[in-house]
Amino acid sequence: MDAVLDGGFVVRWLTAAAGLVEREAERLTELDSAIGDADHGANMQRGFAAVVKTVDTRPPGTPGAVLIAAGRQLISTVGGASGPLYGTLLRRAGKSLGEAPQVTVGELQTALRAGVKSVQELGGSAPGDKTMLDALVPGVEALATSFEAAAGAAEQGARDTVPMLARKGRASYLGERSIGHQDPGATSSALLFAALAEAAR
């Protein structure tokens, strides 16, 4: 918990996230075609590729500035619901970190918690609705233990969406038929935490 994180760490995190999204794009699209509209993989891929381009070409900044830039880029690139939601998550977390050149894991956790709260407000959803939140909330909470624990908790959270009934987003149109499928948004959210663990290794 005492590790100190700088802007370079956040860049490594986002780059790792882009790599994981690239690798898992087909799976995300597959999950999305079961209960959505089969574009989640392509959208996330486009978004995170643009994020990497942005953070690579900018002069290295504070962790907050990197997250804000990444969030803005997602909002401007992705479209769909995931653009504003992931964009808001990162932007709000970045704002919460302020201008500190280095932050602790505890501060990152607080910032991400603020980001998750904004996602909750924007989407009008709560944990248990079979959305991104079902991976984000346990992931953020487990950050108190370790990055690896957070990755595990988010992954478990995504798997836990399988028996849930979707109440928000496009999957909610399915009603009962959404049961039995893993939520693509929760799945990509878990990738963010897997990337965080990867960047910390």
Partner: protein
Amino acid sequence: MLINVPETVVADALRGMAAAHPELVVDVENRVVVRRDAPVAGKVALLSGGGSGHEPLHGGFVGPGMLDAACPGEVFTSPVPDQMVRAAAAVDSGRGVLFVVKNYTGDVLNFRMAAELAEDEGVQVATVLVDDDVAVTDSTFTAGRRGTGATLFVEKIAGAAAEEGMPLERVEALARQVVAGSRSFGVALSACSTPAKGGPTFELPDGQLELGVGIHGEPGRERRGMMTSREIAEVALEAVLEDLPPRLPVLVLVNGAGATPLLELYGFAAEVHRVLDERRVPVARTLVGNYVTSLDMAGCSVTLCQADEELLRLWDAPVQTAGLRWGR
């Protein structure tokens, strides 16, 4: 599929649109379609947008009497706020801009962000949400009804109102009146394939149909064995009329999903009229064709819009767009 590569499908279509329609300004790079004479002095502007794959919606409805601008997103993905902000700045004459938004989570979120940003730049924005699809139960446990065929009625009628010089509040009120009086129901005979996936986005076995399908292939109320055109018309109109028993004559849209021939759509229109006659619902106007499509899906939808004399007059007003054209 008749494409080059999946990544450039939307840009390629926009380049084609620019080539075919010199009366439009098509910004391929920034994904904005604007009528060439915009901003039209003294006129409220209408702006819409949404995922691509529903053509001619929305770009095909840009022109005098309908939209001032359209923002196409990726296939089945809402556009991003930057597009709407750019388009709003291009079409605002100072009398304000009405955003016509289909009720999907992505569209709602991106248009909401765009409205805030455009207002920061001094553009007055009003937003109307279109949610006409009765196949979805409107409750706090869903994202609400989806926006489908009624979008055409909203864009045409509010567009005519704006063309007449009505103020933003009045154009918005008329758009809301159209939404409140419109209901739709769609049926898929086959799934659609997105370029990104390269195959069907959902499984619909031969000989089966999906009742209440969404325009992105979202599942509907139930799946049944093949039915006749007459039976489909009965089921679809039953759902529509049960939800909103008409008190006024109706505008009827018999809409093709993309891969159903006009021959079949006209046959379906006959059945729709037969059912409405039986229920003693007077029909004021009927439009048949592919207007709010779902890529290569086979199927149809029917939308009814209750029209008082003012709505009917605005519906009949001239319109000159790539996808809808009549009058002078």
